[in-house]
Structures are given as structure tokens and as C-alpha cells.
Amino acid sequence: MTVLDAVSEAVRDPMVPTMARVLRRRRELADTWTLELETADRALLGFGPGQFNMLYLPGVGEVAISVSGDPAGARHLVHTIRDVGKVSGALTRLQPGMSLGVRGPFGSTWPVEAAVGRDVLVVAGGLGLAPLRPAIYRLLAERGRFGRIALLYGTRSPTDILYPRELERWRRRLDVQIEVTVDHAGLDWHGHIGVVTHLIPRAAFDPARTVALVCGPEVMMRFAALALHDAGVPDHAIHLSMERNMKCALGHCGRCQFGPMLVCRDGPVVSYERIAHLLAVKEL
């Protein structure tokens, strides 16, 4: 660490972005790209699975994006970004060598340590696989510490499957169950078709000793959490990653308020026990 880095860390203001540089970009889906970012800020690389960064493009804006890379000995930041608006669209168009600002890491993490010795059920929907991927890396890296592990992944169609090569690699392992389903498909698809909750009965797990990690569109998470609850998984062991429009990421601005909590500060990962009564409130 240089003296400059040390001073920079000592006076680190969480509202001031650190500049990072795009090392590589990879197209994942028609509208989704993964950016690998190089940064001198080591604090950014000390993220936990489930946390997010605020990515900033001067003159365009700032947006919260979950980290999707491996937290173990990370040398670069990895973010998978879907082009859904002005800022995220501009981020997906960044080319190697171009710069952006990064603040973070922010928010709560997937409770991987709490899952030690238990079965782990990972339920992902669509782009929700990205925020779960760091947790999956950790689970697989420390495979012996956990009971059975199952990843249930639902998405729109076969061409919308995120990280297909990685899913295939995980599927080849004999110590993890991977089930993928799509909402609709053509004749060349021989896998599951239907909603992700229908995969839950196919997963091998002991409900009373299971920790479930759920991420996807909120409506999908609501019904997945209910299905897990109905299957006997305790509400406190079901964890969801909530998404709200975050601005400061520090719990100051109140933009991401969700009932009594602020998603940036108290989330994004929260237990179902804590928010079950809020999920059906339309105004939130």
C-alpha cells in the first residue's frame, strides 16, 4: 500500500466514489453484461456475499448494483448489470479502459456462516442469480462445512439463463443439486418448464435444518418464501434480498424505505420473519 492509498483509506468518505477502470466486459444476455473492474481501493474488494456497490458515471448518475464475483481473495470487482434505464444502460456500454466511480461495499450479507452444518437451498429467479453467485462460490469453496446444497433457478426462457457455463460446471459436481426451470421454451429444450417454486419438492433438504437464500423479482420471492414456509423451512431461516431505489446507500436519505427499515442500511438481505408482514403491503 502506498502512502497515498493509506491516507485515502484513512479519510475514506463513503459518499465519495473511488475511481475504477473497466478491465473486461462480457455479454451475458441480450441486455445484460458483466463488468470486471480494477480498483486500487482494497476496501472495495473486502465485500461480503450479497453486498452491493454504488456505481457512478459522471454526468449520468449513480445506481446500486450487487457484487456478483467471488469474495475469496478478490482482486477485481465483478458486477453483472442489466440495461434497464439510463444509468444501467450507460454502464453496460462501458468499454475496457474506461473509468467509473464506485462507492461501497454496502448492506447486509447472505448468512453463509449461519448455514454451517445445515442444508442450504438457494432459490434464484432471473437476474437474481447474480447477487447469489458470491454466496454460491463461498458455499462450494467450503463445501464440507454444509449439509446438502441445492440451487433452484427459474428464468424466462432458455436464452435468458444467466451464467449457463457456470451452471453446467456446478451441475457436473456430485455434491450439489442444480435444477433449472424456464417459463416457456421451444422444442429444443428438454429441461424443466414451469415456475421455480415447483422445483422445491424436487430438492433434497431437511426443512427444519435448512437455510434458504432467495433472490429474484419481488413477486417471485414472495411466492418462493411462502412455498418454503409451507415446506416447513422456518421463517427466520428464509433470507431474501430486497431491492428498492437506493440513493445515498448510507441510511441517510430515506429513499429506500421499506416499512420500518431502510433497505440500504438494514438490507438488502433480510430474513422473511422480519418482512413477511410487509411483502403484501401494496404501498411499500
Partner: protein, 154 residues
């Protein structure tokens, strides 16, 4: 060799069904197998049976003019294929195709409907199993139609 009523009693769809009911249902059943690519039934044909899937995978398809057929549901071991036999005019609304070697018990719909008319207890036990399955599929269809994984509104 296992008897058909025992196999029916062990199938998840008929879990906890009393043996006398399993025996009555078995009287309408027979073992069948479909090779990969073979159709269990076709859209528009009489819905004269339904299937307890014991092994394999079945896909439901609907033909869209000018496009290749769309697959919207797969069913696996432990599930049932076919509910149109319950509701007049007893006609299949979709094609059902085996995606791999599939073994099932085919239950004759007319035979079963007749037994349900004669024995309302059997009929009620069947309804208790079919109605939740229908609701589950209806709910799943709504979720699929919502396109929850589609691009959110900007």
C-alpha cells in the same frame, strides 16, 4: 411383482389414500410406457384417460400457427398428466409429449368417472387431490403470464 393398487398407493399424488380406494382406482388402470418423442395425447382428442407418471418427463405443448410449438409445462416422476378428463366436454386442450422414456399408469377416465358417481367418497378423495393441483397450475400459469423476469418498466 408389485400390484397396481400398491403402486397407485405409493404414488405421491395418491399419498395417504386408503387401500380400498386404491383398489377401485387400480381397476381402471394399466401400466404404459412412452419412448422419447412419443405423444401421450393430442390437442382436440377425447380426454379419455389420465396418467400417473412413475418415471420420465412429459412436456405440454401448444401449436401456434406459423411458429414452432411452444412448451409451457413439464411434468416429472410423481406428478400427473391430464386433468381434462374431469371436465366436460372431456377433450385435451394441449399435446403431451414424452421427452424421455416415460413410464406411467394410465387410468381410464370413463371407468373412473363411473366409479366416482357410484361412490361419492372415492369421488371426494379424488377431488381433494385434483383441486389443489388445478389451483397450483392455475397460479403457476398466472406467474408465467406475468413475465416476472421480463425487463422492468423504466
Amino acid at each position: 411383482m408389485e400390484r397396481l393398487d400398491e403402486i397407485i398407493g405409493q404414488h405421491p399424488f395418491f399419498r395417504d389414500l386408503e387401500p380400498s380406494c386404491c383398489a377401485m382406482i387400480a381397476g381402471c388402470g394399466r401400466n404404459v410406457r412412452f419412448d422419447a418423442g412419443q405423444y401421450l395425447f393430442h390437442e382436440g382428442d377425447p380426454a379419455d384417460r389420465f396418467y400417473l407418471i412413475r418415471h420420465g418427463r412429459v412436456a405440454f405443448e401448444i401449436t401456434v400457427p406459423g411458429r414452432e410449438p411452444a412448451r409451457f409445462l413439464t411434468l416429472d416422476e410423481g406428478q400427473i398428466a391430464g386433468v381434462s378428463w374431469l371436465v366436460p366436454p372431456y377433450r385435451w386442450n394441449y399435446d403431451a409429449k414424452a421427452l424421455e422414456l416415460t413410464r406411467a399408469i394410465a387410468l381410464d377416465a370413463k371407468c373412473l368417472r363411473g366409479k366416482c358417481e357410484e361412490d361419492h367418497h372415492l369421488g371426494y378423495e379424488l377431488m381433494k387431490r385434483f383441486v389443489p393441483e388445478l389451483v397450483r397450475r392455475l397460479h403457476a400459469t398466472r406467474m408465467q403470464m406475468l413475465d416476472v423476469y421480463g425487463k422492468p418498466a423504466a
